[in-house]
Every structure is written in C-alpha cells, then in structure tokens.
Symmetry: C2
Subunit: 234 residues, 2 copies
C-alpha cells in the first residue's frame, strides 16, 4: 500500500495539492510550487541537516519517518518531534535568518520534498488565503510545543507516558473500552521524545502492565481500559 524507495515516478502535483497547507491552490499555483520543489531521498540513519545549518525552504515527508532532535555534549540526544507522511517541517527557520535549532535524521528510509523559500514567498505575495494557512500551521506547531513544555514541567514520567498513549488512541472522543496502538518507532526514540531514559520507559510500561491497564508486546500496545488509564494520576 505504501510507495517504496524504488518507485521513481511521483505525482508531485497530487501530493502537494492534498496537503492541508496547499489545499485550494489553483493548478497554476501548484505548478509553480512543483518547479520549486526537489525530491530528497534519505536513508535510515542518514542526516538531512545539522543543528545550526541555514535553511532556504522547508520539507514535506512523502513517506518514511524523520526525527528532529538536538544533540548533547554527552552523546545522548533529545528528540523534539517524530514526523511521518504528509507532515512538514522547517517552515519556521525559513522566516527567520536564524540557523536551525535542531537536526533532522531519517528513522527509516524516507522520501521528502523540499520546497524552496522563494516559491513560498511568491505565493505569500499573491495569496492571502495561503498566508492564513501558513500562519495557522505555525500556530498549531507553537501550540503543541507549549503543550510539550507544560507536559515536561508539570507531569511525572508515568503521566507523560500515559498522555502519550492516550494521544495515540485512534479517536480522542469519550472512547471507552480497549484500543490497540502500534508504536511508530523504537522505544528508545519514544523515551527521548518523552524526556526519559529507555530504562525508565521500560519500567513504566512494566508497571502499567502489572496494574492491568495496558498490555505490551513489542511495538503493539493494548490499552485495556481507556477510562482508567485517563484517570491515572499517580
């Protein structure tokens, strides 16, 4: 169902026009973007850019998985975000003349599109609706970063894990009963994303299992009782 690294032909206009950011653009706007856009294949473990690099555009994930993180002196790194298909990143640095605050690395073999900044600026000149979408997109990202800060500051490690699991429930409504979640990547990366060590994440999964709240089998997590898990407040 998913495209592979060896499939060479991409319908770039279709990919672009399906993104929230570019919906409602007319074909000629899409065409302009297409010509400002370059494919970039990234192998698992390969670095896309380093912290401190300048940016002259932003990226869209077509398929694969990318992590954004900052490096640390002692080799350990802190994962800021894990990105999957149809997500974009790097917009913010494009609008500043600051170097990128994080580095980007492929978690698996991936295909990205790079949109040059001049095309974006031209679109901005002529299409106020696009500007609004762009602003909305940045605002959403700001919002989720603020939530991250709240989570890191105010919640215990177990609460962060529970929050993560609940966020990844298929639907977010008043869902009762049990759900199955498949972790998007290795537990060490998720641990870093949640600001904890792999050991601590492992122990928390163990505890939640022991209390019958979840069941863990590799990357498959079964949430037995969403309601109880939500009430979890150690």
């Amino acid at each position: 169902m998913q495209e592979t690294m060896h499939e060479t032909k991409l319908d770039i206009p279709q990919i672009l026009s399906r993104l929230p950011l570019f919906q409602e653009l007319v074909p000629e706007q899409i065409a302009a973007l297409e010509s400002a856009c370059r494919e970039r294949r990234l192998a698992k473990g390969e670095m896309l850019f380093q912290k401190g690099d300048p940016a002259k555009g932003f990226f869209i994930v077509v398929f694969g998985q990318i992590k954004l993180a900052f490096p640390s002196s002692q080799g350990n790194e802190k994962v800021v975000q894990i990105l999957g298909p149809r997500q974009s990143f790097g917009e913010a640095v494009m609008f500043m003349d600051r170097p990128c605050p994080v580095f980007a690395e492929g978690l698996v073999d991936s295909l990205l599109l790079h949109i040059g900044s001049t095309a974006v600026f031209e679109l901005l000149e002529t299409d106020p609706m696009f500007a609004r979408r762009m602003l909305a997109g940045l605002s959403m990202r700001l919002h989720s970063l603020v939530q991250d800060v709240e989570t890191y500051s105010l919640r215990s490690s177990a609460q962060r894990v529970v929050g993560y699991l609940l966020q990844h429930c298929p639907q977010d409504g008043p869902c009762e009963g049990s759900f199955d979640i498949s972790l998007p990547t290795s537990k060490q990366v998720i641990a870093s994303r949640l600001n904890l060590t792999p050991e601590t994440l492992s122990r928390i999964f163990h505890d939640l299992s022991a209390n019958g709240l979840i069941a863990v089998s590799g990357k498959q997590i079964t949430i037995n009782d969403v309601k109880k898990l939500r009430e979890f407040d150690l």
Copy 2:
C-alpha cells in the same frame, strides 16, 4: 520617564507604528488598526484571561509586565514567559480555533492594547508584507520555545540560571569584564520561568556568589566575570 496608570491620553497610532510588526504600515492602515484596538488596564495580580479561554485578538504591552503561565493541580504554576513593554502575545491562538493553553496575569499594574482579530485578518488580505512580518514573529516565538525545551531537557538547574543571566547581559557580543543586571521581577517568578523552585534558585545564586562569579543584592546582580560564567559547565 515612564507613563503612569493615570495618564489618560495615549497616542495609539504612534505606539502601533513603532512596533516591529506594524512598522511600514501606511497611516490609513494604522488608523484601521486603531479603531479595532481597545485599551485594557490590568492591576497587579489581576487575571487577563484564563487558560482555556477563547481569543478573538491579541495583546500588546504598552507598559507594565505580564506573565503567561499554566496552572497546576497542586497550586504551583509554571511560568512560560514574562512580557514587557512593546511585546505582544496571543497571536497564535487567534489563528487556531483552539482555546488558549496558558493564562495571563499582571505582575505589576499594566496597560495593554487589544487588537481585534478581524482587523488583523483584513490586514492580512491586503498586505503581504504584513503577513510576512506576522510569520516572522510567530517563527521567532517558535524558535525561543524550542530553545526552552532544549534548555529544560539538556541543562542542569545551575546551567539554566547561568544561561538566563547571560541572556540578560546588556549586549551579547564577546563581552568581557563585569555587568550589572536588574532582575525584571521577583525571584520566585524567575525560578518558575527556569523550571525550578525558589529554594533551588536561591542556593544556586549562593553558590555562584561563593565562587566569586556573581554578586547578588536584592534584584541587582553583578556578573564579575562574564567569560568565566560562560565557561561554567558544572
């Protein structure tokens, strides 16, 4: 030199046109903003809005000081940002239909301007340059939040304090020698901003003083040796 709470007449066009966001707007654009703009006086300790409130515009600090923070179950709160004159906040929530993730409270008696969102959207329709400034503004905020996440995740409490002091040096260049800093608000608020308890901040100030790196006298902090402080890496 500073306006007081009792000075009633404000030159709103001048205030607006001096803001980075609104520079280069023509007088009639400023006039449109002025009519969409309401004064809001806020006493020390008074709440401007609660976490969860919707927003139909954003705020500019004319004078005074505002803190943005999230509340916590156990009464302790986490300060996200401390805002002073000529700074604005609340733009991001305006572009989403999400409730505000933080609350805002006056740290001292303050005067704010509120700009209605419809005026902003109209400006966005007609002025691409304004859109670009708005995007740049949000990007900067995103950038500093990412830096906060990095700081909280990767640096020890003492390093966070040192970083805070260095950020507040008069200039940021290769400054040698000593500087005087005046803390913008109480130490407890600063402690919360740095994600630590007042006790811990006090101890760190004590240690830095004992090592001769700084001298503390109330809100006055003297940095004796900027270079040594910068090399501080516990």
